[in-house]
């Protein structure tokens, strides 16, 4: 505290007291209207009478009493549980004692007919149990045999022998499989082309510099693997993706999206190409390689393509002719 504050405090403490006017005390005394004394006037806090003490401490006493009651209840429960546990432990001993009681006099009296009956019953029981065991062993053997047959059938179902199908059927099956893989490949290229277009929309109509740049636009890395490409492994996530997980050739990195017949992707297995406009031309690279022209390091679909294998893509027009 500074000197000035001390000085101020001293001045404040020595402030003059206003003196009451004369006669005020008399008026006050004359105006005293004391309430009628009650029979049981609660004494002041300082006197520590029981009622006042109770009034003062009831907020503490009530929770304490509740806690005490809970503790007593828990203790009684524990005692009861303990006694019940002891009773439960005593039960088997009593049962064992009672079980031995009838046999004791039999052994002690050496009653011959009773002993013979017991031996017969035991023999019968043993015979019955042996019979049951043999039945169970037979069932187990039967189950083992059935399991072997099941395994054989499973292998037959998994790899049907070539003899089951005729050569024509086998060939048709292989063709159908190839066609299904080709359609799957076209679908992949279609999705890749769409991803490139979406990426280009957000990036000034430029194609992405590499495939990893447009992972946000791709639904899954599975579309980067051609179904017929059995030599590569499919990446489950983009985090584990490497170029080794991609079947397709990306031919137009970081190029403007102004030329719709520029080839973006090519499948080296099927020869499908995906153009800049998002359309996919099936097997062009394999059946019509002369339609693909290389210019300025890029690959273009030079002729207007209307091959019978061209896949119509709903919503996307065919590539525009650069030289109409």
């Amino acid at each position: 505290m500074s000197t000035m504050e001390q000085e101020i405090e001293n001045v404040l403490r020595s402030a003059p007291k206003p003196t009451p006017p004369t006669g005020l005390k008399g008026q006050l005394i004359a105006q005293v209207r004391l309430p009628a004394p009650r029979a049981a006037v609660p004494p002041l806090a300082g006197s520590l009478a029981p009622a006042n003490w109770l009034r003062r401490w009831w907020p503490v006493l009530v929770p304490a009493a509740a806690s005490l009651a809970c503790a007593v209840g828990l203790t009684m429960q524990q005692v009861e549980i303990h006694s019940l546990q002891q009773a439960i432990q005593a039960l088997p001993r009593d049962a064992g004692g009672r079980a031995t009681v009838p046999s004791a006099p039999a052994a002690g009296t050496n009653d011959a007919p009773a002993g013979a009956d017991a031996a017969d019953r035991t023999q019968q029981e043993v015979g019955r149990l042996k019979e049951l065991a043999s039945q169970l062993a037979a069932e187990v053997a039967q189950l083992e045999q059935m399991r072997g047959e099941n395994a054989k059938l499973r292998t037959q179902v998994a790899a049907p022998p070539a003899g089951l199908l005729t050569p024509e059927e086998t060939e048709e099956l292989a063709k159908a499989k190839e066609r299904a893989e080709s359609i799957g490949c076209i679908n992949n290229l279609k999705q890749l082309g769409l991803s490139v277009r979406v990426w280009a929309l957000d990036n000034g109509d430029m194609s992405p510099p590499n495939i990893l740049e447009m992972t946000n636009e791709m639904s899954t890395p599975k579309i980067l693997l051609c179904p017929a490409d059995h030599g590569r492994q499919r990446a489950d996530t983009f985090a584990s993706y490497t170029p080794a997980n991609c079947s397709y050739e990306y031919l137009a990195p970081s190029t403007p999206e102004t030329e719709p017949n520029r080839v973006l992707f090519r499948c080296p297995i099927h020869g499908h190409v995906c153009l800049s406009d998002g359309s996919v031309q099936a097997e062009v690279a394999k059946k019509h390689p002369d339609w693909l022209v290389q210019r300025d390091g890029m690959l273009y679909l030079h002729e207007r393509v209307q091959p019978p294998e061209a896949v119509p893509v709903p919503g996307n027009p065919p590539p525009a002719d650069p030289n109409p």
Binding site: S2, M4, E5, E7, I8, E9, V11, L12, R13, S14, A15, P16, K17, P18, T19, P20, P21, L24, K25, Q27, L28, I29, Q31, V32, R33, L34, P35, A36, P37, R38, V41, P42, P43, L44, A45, G46, S47, N52, R55
Partner: protein, 192 residues
């Protein structure tokens, strides 16, 4: 004082008028002084003192003794003053001249001359404090109540009273410093 006061209150609760008269004699000067400072008017202070003791007798059965009798009485007086000011729409009284006209009666003339300017400035500055700070100063310093008693009388926490006292002292110091830098006519000249 308080143990006796407690006994007087207890006797008064039992209907003892003599105890009530003793209680009046013990406290009416302090209550009047407090109300006089609040109301800044002799007649209003006397009226408020009578109202205060009238309410004291009504509240007597409910006094549990949890606070001291002095803080209880000051609390009643403070509420009587607040009710009076709200009901009659009185403005906050500011009485500079009252302090200058009433120096401490026990002070010698030399002390009066030496401290008159400072005292006048201090009391005037107290009157200019915000109501909460001013009432806290009046109860704690003028009425000689402890911090706890002041808190009981005002119905606030003791920490609040401590904070207000510190704030009031800082405010007074600031006011006095500014007054010293800007020369004012001394109080002694106004007294003369």
């Amino acid at each position: 004082m308080d143990p006796d006061a407690n006994q007087l209150v207890e006797r008064a609760r039992g209907g003892d008028r003599a105890a009530a008269a003793e209680l009046i004699g013990l406290f009416y000067e302090r209550v009047y002084a407090f109300l006089r400072r609040l109301a800044a008017n002799d007649a209003d202070a006397a009226d408020l003192t009578q109202r205060t003791f009238g309410r004291v007798w009504q509240a007597l059965p409910g006094f549990a003794g949890r606070s001291s009798v002095a803080s209880w009485l000051h609390s009643i007086a403070y509420h009587v003053y607040v009710d009076w000011r709200r009901a009659d729409r009185h403005t906050e009284p500011r009485s500079h001249e009252w302090w200058a006209a009433r120096p401490a009666p026990e002070a010698t003339p030399d002390e009066i001359v030496a401290h008159a300017d400072l005292a006048s400035a201090v009391y005037g500055s107290v009157d200019e404090l915000e109501p909460d700070l001013r009432h806290t100063v009046q109860l704690h310093y003028y009425q000689d109540l402890t911090l706890q008693e002041t808190a009981d009388a005002m119905g606030v926490a003791t920490s609040t009273v401590k904070y207000r006292v510190r704030q009031a002292l800082a405010e007074l110091q600031r006011k006095l410093t500014s007054q010293r830098t800007s020369p004012m006519p001394p109080a002694t000249s106004r007294m003369l």
